[in-house]
Symmetry: C2
Subunit: 312 residues, 2 copies
């Protein structure tokens, strides 16, 4: 028996108090591919990015201008940007430092993202700096980017837990977020890098941000599904008023800090829930499914999206 009559979209049942539209910030080509072992051909990355943009995603993070020594998967960052057409505003790029920003500017980027760690240990392990030094460096990169007329988004890692330190104080996260907003970021994306957060934690973290003068309109949520909590956490985030969620087509990406292949929240699964809730995204689910399927096939792995698996 197979599904014969089920419509390809869920029944719509809006929930009181939720936003009527949200943004899905697609991170598969950057956060996803940087964590995959395989190296994808430049033309396939470009095809993937253009397909996701065609599907209606307003923002599709394209790549990272990180050192190719550290992330060889994204060594073709400039070549990827060169294939995306004249308007690069929908295709932000991650810039880990001033050198990365210089390369991004040379490649024509008009939107960048910087990232910092909410915890001391991850800053030292991942960035080889203290948390304070990493924050200052990000602020400096943000200032340079703003001077050059770019928009700046901020990522905060390990907002819900840290693999070395364990619990992470929400106040510490909100202080880092506030510093990035002060440095000119239009939005901070709060990353549950190891996926340990749960729904009440999400609500609390957003509330603590509000108390630190980081308004909910400046907060995005970035969940990894390592413990299966990502969509429940989105639901809590919606109820807290958050209107931007990061996700990865096909759920590509891994979690390098846990013994599992489960990575980013799959864009398809997010879209399914938002559609069911009657929340507008402007995104065509079927086109995202198709783009994600091609990319996961190139990576030689099954899709990590349950919606894509069910519809496939």
């Amino acid at each position: 028996m197979s599904v014969t009559a089920w419509p390809v979209l869920p029944a719509t049942h809006p929930e009181a108090g939720l936003p009527t539209s949200v943004s899905v910030y697609e991170v598969g080509a950057r956060d996803g591919l940087q964590a995959e072992i395989g190296i994808v051909a430049t033309e396939e990355k470009i095809r993937f990015l253009l397909a996701l943009r065609d599907a209606g995603l307003r923002t599709v993070e394209a790549t990272s201008f990180v050192s190719p020594r550290w992330v060889p998967q994204l060594a073709d960052a400039a070549e990827v940007l060169a294939g995306l057409g004249d308007d690069l505003a929908p295709y932000p790029v991650l810039v880990p430092n001033q050198r990365g920003l210089e390369r991004a500017l040379e490649a024509g980027a008009t939107a960048v993202a910087v990232f910092v760690s909410a915890t001391e240990t991850f800053a030292q392990r991942n960035l080889n700096m203290t948390r304070g030094q990493a924050l200052e460096a990000a602020q400096s990169v943000a200032a340079s980017a703003l001077d050059a007329g770019l928009t700046v988004r901020g990522y905060v890692s390990m907002c819900f837990g840290d693999p070395w330190e364990g619990r992470v104080a929400p106040q510490a996260v909100a202080e880092v977020s506030r510093s990035l907003i002060d440095a000119g970021a239009y939005e901070v994306s709060l990353g549950d890098t190891i996926g340990v957060g749960t729904a009440g934690h999400v609500r609390h973290l957003v509330d603590v941000h509000r108390a630190h003068d980081v308004p909910v309109d400046s907060v995005a949520l970035h969940f990894h599904d390592t413990y299966g909590q990502a969509l429940a956490n989105v639901h809590a985030g919606l109820q807290a008023g958050v209107r931007c969620f990061d996700a990865s087509a096909g759920g590509i990406g891994g979690c390098p800090f846990a013994g599992t292949a489960t990575g980013n929240l799959a864009t398809e699964d997010l879209l399914w829930m938002l559609t069911g809730l009657g929340i507008e995204t402007g995104v065509d689910l079927a086109q995202v499914v198709a783009a994600g399927a091609r990319m996961t096939s190139l990576l030689g792995k099954p899709t990590q999206s349950r919606v894509a698996a069910a519809l496939g």
Copy 2:
């Protein structure tokens, strides 16, 4: 790098308005195993059931007295019950008809579950009866069981969508539920058999039940994770006041009506969320992880629980 300092339980952040304790109704040995291709040895089923009960689960559905011609995986139903000790109250069994009830009574069962379909097509395809005939048959089985001093739970299938009919009217579901309550069921478990429901739909369905005089204390929710929505739907169910959720250790079970191996919500993933929300269940997560791991290993498949995979 591996997780070194992360505690094995999430940080606790209660959410206003949620229940402080809930029941987890374990269905792995019945709903899970009936949908798996492999046949598990009777002594391993008994070991699984006892381990789950030892883990603190108050109710562990043990098996189904369905015809072995239809479900050979559960042909040893009587032998399984015989291995569970004297008190069988924590180990309900599914009885599809009067013949099943007779076998269950002979085997000493003291708690049974009956099931019906919310939709006409599924009743005809799965039970070879009209929906009305199936409901009458279930009511009759329930009456016999109550006469014999047993407790009766009711399952309603296809509550959120049907693979042949598509959309399912919440009113139709609530009418079936009301009939089962009228027939003496202490609780109805609303099954999203094909996993297509989303959070707002859950809230709406519970509200419609309330309007049909099916109080929320008599409603349990039974989600399949086919489209990744199960835990977000539990979150919505908690907010609607539901206090009993069905789940399967290791996420065992498949969804025979969709092209994917994804089946029941994994008990471990549910427990992770409930722990994070500070909701008492009385269940030890590590023991459930261990029991689920043994069973999925016997079935020759990876765990379907993301928590079990991450902690493993």
